[in-house]
Symmetry: C2
Subunit: 504 residues, 2 copies
C-alpha cells in the first residue's frame, strides 16, 4: 500500500490521512458540503456514508451541493437519516425525491451551468467542506478527479476546507483525461478559448494549496454502475425518426455527414439514437455532452466518434470493466471538463451542438415540461437540458407519445410545468413522428405537433381543445378552464382519455 | 443636394438612386423582406410606405423580418393593408397586434439574439430584399446605419438584394458610432472578443458588395419619437426598492458602487430606476443594453455613465433634438452594435449584467409571463428579456402588484404563459417590496413573493391557494383545478378578487 500510494500522494501529505469516521466528525450542524459526483460517477462515497453512520446517534442537518445525481445510495441514505436540509442542483434518487415532494428536503432545481456561477459570486451560503474523490494528488498541487469533474473545481476553490477521498482502485491512466478550466469572476472574465470539442484549455487537475486540505481518506469503492435500458420497438422508431430528420438537414445543406457536436441526454432513446448511428452513414462524429454512456464507447470502438467531451463517464458494470481495463485505448479521444464548461452557453452556442433531451410532457405549442409530474411532483430536475436547449444549433426533445399504457398523453394542451419555452424548442420527436417547429408561429406549431407527434387515441381530443381555443382567438389560443383538463381527468379517472373506449 | 450627397454616397452608386415607388415595384407576392429598425429607431420608412400605397390597388403579401418594433406606423399601415403574412421577431403596434391575435398575421415571437442565427443557418425562408436605412455608404463598401443596427448586418449579408434608404436628415457624426461584428457560422465561430462594454471589435459599417445594392432611395424622414412615460408614485417606489436591493448587494461585497453593466428594458420603471441613479452614490456606470432611452443621456450629462452600448437609440422628440444637435458631445461614450451582439449570451454572461425587465405577471414560484394577456393574447413579445434573464449576473423583473384599478393581481398562482422559468429569475420587485429568490427552493420562494410583493388586497387569496396546494405536496405545490382561478374569475367577473369588498 505504502509503495502504491507514493505514486498518487505526495510524501508531505501522508500525515493528513484519516479515517472516514474521523473526517465525518468534523462536520457541524448547519454546515454546507460540496460533494464531487455527477450522474453516479466520481462521487465522494466514504465520508458521506460515515456521516450517515454518525447521524444515527447524533442527528443533525447539512446542505448538500453536488455536480448532479449521486450513486452509492448516498442521497437515499442521507435523506433517510434526515441529514439533508437543502439540496442542489440535481438528483435522481427515489427516497430523496419523496422527501423533496413532502417538503422535508428543500431542493433547488438548477441549470447545471449555473451552480458554479452562484458559488463563485458568493450568492449561495459558503461551502464549509468540499469532499472530492481523486485518483491522485500531484506533487505540484493538483487534485486529479476520477470519473467525473462536475462542480469539484469550484467547490475546492471556494470551500473553507477540502477533504480528498483518494480512490486507489481506479486506473492511474485517468491522469491526463481531465481538462480543468475555471472562468474568472463575471466582469473580469476572458472569452473561454474553446473552439473545438477536442480543445484542451486548462490543467490536468484542480489546483489546491496543500494547507487547505484538512484530510485525506483512502477508499477503494467503485462507482455505482448505470442501469442500461435496452431500446424497445418504440424508442427504436423514435431514433429512426430523428435520423430521418437529420438526413433531411443534410439534404437541405445545413449539416454534413459529420453532423455537429452531439449532446445527448441520459436514457433509452439516447441509447437508441447513438446505437442507430453505429450502422449509419454518419462519420467522424464529435460528442460535446454532459455524460458519456455505454453507447458512446461502442461508437468509439466502431471508429465513428473522433472525440468525446463531457463532465462524467457513467457506464454499466460490463462496459465499465471493459473501458477501465483498457483505458489507454480510449484516453486520447476523451476529455472530462468542469460541468460549467461542458454546459457553458458561450461554448454550446459557438459549437452549435445538436442537443437531444427527454421531455416528460410537451404541449401543443411546443413548451416542454422536463421535471414535474402533474405540475407538482419533482421527478429529477432540469439538469443541463436548459443550458443546451437555449443555445444549441438544433434543440430536439423526445418522448413517447403516451405513458401508463395509454392513460397518459405526453402531448397535452398546456404543460403542467414549463422548463423550456416554445422559444427554445426546435423539434419534437415521438414514436409517431417528428414536428420541425422552426420558423413556425404557434398556430402552425399546434397543428403540426398534434398531427405528427400525438398518439392517434388522443388526436381528436387535442384537436377538440385546439379548435375550441381557436374560437377565442389569440397568438396562443387557450381555454384556461380546460387547459389542464387532461391532467385533472387523469387524477380523477386514472386516464387522460375523455371517452374511455367501451370494451366488449 | 448633389454636393451634400457626395459626402455620403460614392459617385459610382449615384446611378442606383430610385424613387421609393420604383423600389416598391420590385417586390413580388410571397417574398420575404428584412427591414432595418429597432424600437422605433433607424427603420426603413420610405420603401415600406410606398409598398403600402402599391398594395392599395395591387394586393399581395410578404413576410417581414425586422430588428424589433418599428415606428412611423409601418406595422400599422402594412397590416391594415393585409400586406404581412409572417412577422418576426418583435412588434409593439396596436393594429398588427390585433391582426396577430385574430390569426390574420402569423407572428414568431423570438429571442432577439436568435433571429440572426436562424437567418445565418438558412433555417428561415431566404430574404429577398434587405431594406436598411443608412446615414452614408462609404467608398470602401460599407453601409453606415442610422440610429439602430438591429438585424441589418445579417439581412444585408444574406439577402438576395439590398435596398438602401439614404437618410440625409441625420448628423454625419453618426459615422463612427457603430461597431459591426458578424459572428462566423456555428462550428466555425471564434470567441467574440468583447470583454468590456466599451470594446470596439468590428467595423464602422456593414460591408456590402456594391453590385448587390439594387437601389438607393433618398429620404429625410426622422424616427418616430418615443412616448415618455413619467414615473408615478408607484414606479418611483419600485425604483427605490430596487436601489435598496442594490445597496444590500454592495454591503454583502458582491457589487461595488460602479455596479455592473446595466441592461434596462424600455418603460416607466426603467426610466424611474435610471433617474434614481442620477442623484445616487453610484458612479462610473456602464450600460450594456438593447435600447438607449432619454434617461441614459441624462446620466451621461450628469457624468454618471462612462459608456453606453446598445443596438438602438430611442428618444423623445425633445431629447432627440438635444442629442442629435450636439452629437459630438455624446459620441465617444456611445456604441451601437448588431442586436445579436448586444444580446449575445456569451457576452451577457461574461460581463455579468444587471438586467431589469418588466413582467406582465409573475407567479408565486417566480415564473414570469412577459408577453401574453390571460395566456392567449400577445402584447408585444419576449424581446431580449430572455437573452439577458438567462445569462445575467442579476435578473430582476419589475411589475406593479396590481393593474386595472386593483382588478388584476400581477402575482398569480400560476402564470398563464411562461416566458422565463423560475430557474432564470433572481429578484421580483413591485411597489410593495422585493423578493430576492436566489438560493431559495420553490416553497421558500412562494412565501417570500406573497409576503413581499403581492398587493395586500390579494395576499389572503394567494395564501389560501398556496396553503391548499401545500396539502397536496410536491416540489412546486399546485391545485391544477384552481391554478388559473384568478384569470378565470377576471374573465367572468371583471376582477381577480374572489370576495369583492362590500362598499357602504
Amino acid at each position: 500500500m505504502e509503495k502504491e500510494l507514493s505514486n498518487v500522494l505526495p510524501e508531505s501529505l501522508k500525515g493528513k490521512i484519516v479515517s472516514a469516521d474521523e473526517a465525518a466528525s468534523w462536520f457541524e450542524n448547519g454546515m454546507t458540503l460540496g460533494l464531487s459526483g455527477f450522474t453516479r460517477a466520481g462521487d465522494a462515497k466514504a465520508v458521506p456514508l460515515a456521516l450517515v453512520e454518525r447521524a444515527k446517534t447524533d442527528p443533525f442537518k447539512v446542505n448538500v451541493y453536488t455536480g448532479a445525481s449521486l450513486g452509492s445510495d448516498i442521497d437515499k441514505l442521507m435523506s433517510e437519516q434526515g441529514l439533508i436540509a437543502k439540496r442542489l442542483p440535481y438528483q435522481t434518487d427515489n427516497t430523496i425525491r419523496k422527501k423533496i415532494n413532502q417538503g422535508d428536503v428543500l431542493y433547488i432545481d438548477q441549470h447545471l451551468s449555473h451552480t458554479a456561477e452562484l458559488v463563485r459570486a458568493g450568492v449561495l451560503p459558503e461551502i464549509d467542506f468540499a469532499i472530492v474523490e481523486a485518483v491522485a494528488i500531484t506533487e505540484d498541487g493538483m487534485i486529479i478527479p476520477t470519473t467525473s469533474v462536475g462542480n469539484s473545481p469550484i467547490f475546492v476553490q471556494k470551500a473553507k476546507n477540502v477533504i480528498v477521498e483518494l480512490n486507489t482502485n481506479l486506473p492511474k491512466e485517468l491522469v491526463g483525461v481531465h481538462d480543468i478550466y475555471l472562468p474568472e469572476k463575471q466582469g473580469e472574465r476572458k472569452p473561454i478559448p474553446l473552439t473545438n470539442s477536442s480543445d484542451r484549455i486548462g490543467k490536468i487537475g484542480i489546483p489546491v494549496e496543500f494547507d487547505r486540505i484538512k484530510g485525506i481518506v483512502l477508499t477503494t469503492e467503485t462507482d455505482s454502475p448505470s442501469t442500461i435500458v435496452q431500446p424497445d420497438e418504440e424508442t427504436q422508431t423514435m431514433a429512426n425518426h430523428l435520423m430521418s430528420f437529420l438526413r433531411k438537414e443534410i439534404e437541405a445543406g445545413r449539416l454534413d455527414k459529420t453532423l455537429a457536436p452531439l449532446q445527448i441526454g441520459v436514457g433509452s432513446v439516447a441509447n437508441a439514437v447513438l446505437h442507430g448511428m453505429l450502422t449509419s452513414e454518419f462519420h467522424d462524429l464529435e460528442v460535446y455532452s454532459e455524460v458519456l454512456q455505454d453507447a458512446v464507447f461502442d461508437l468509439i470502438d466502431a471508429g465513428k466518434v473522433k472525440v468525446a467531451s463531457a463532465t462524467s463517464i457513467t457506464l454499466s458494470e460490463e462496459k465499465g470493466n471493459e473501458v477501465y481495463g483498457n483505458f489507454e485505448k480510449y484516453k486520447d479521444k476523451l476529455i472530462l471538463r468542469p460541468q460549467e464548461i461542458s454546459n457553458y452557453p458561450e461554448i454550446v452556442r459557438r459549437l452549435g451542438t445538436i442537443s437531444i433531451n427527454t421531455a416528460l410532457e410537451v404541449d401543443i405549442y411546443g413548451n416542454v415540461n422536463s421535471t414535474h409530474v402533474s405540475g407538482t411532483k419533482m421527478m429529477n430536475g432540469i439538469g443541463g437540458s436548459g443550458d443546451f436547449a437555449r443555445n444549441a444549433r438544433l434543440t430536439v426533445f423526445v418522448t413517447k407519445s403516451v405513458a401508463k399504457g395509454g392513460n397518459i398523453s405526453s402531448i397535452v394542451p398546456f404543460v403542467s410545468h414549463v422548463d423550456h419555452t416554445e422559444h427554445d424548442v426546435d423539434v419534437i420527436v415521438t414514436e409517431q413522428g417528428y414536428a420541425d417547429l422552426r420558423g413556425l408561429a404557434p398556430r402552425e406549431r399546434a397543428e403540426l405537433i398534434i398531427e405528427n407527434c400525438a398518439h392517434p387515441m388522443y388526436k381528436e381530443q387535442l384537436k377538440d381543445y385546439y379548435f375550441e381555443a381557436l374560437t377565442q382567438g389569440g397568438q396562443t389560443p387557450h381555454i384556461l378552464e380546460k387547459a389542464f383538463s387532461f391532467h385533472i381527468n387523469f387524477a380523477k379517472n386514472g386516464t387522460m382519455l375523455e371517452k374511455v373506449p367501451v370494451t366488449n
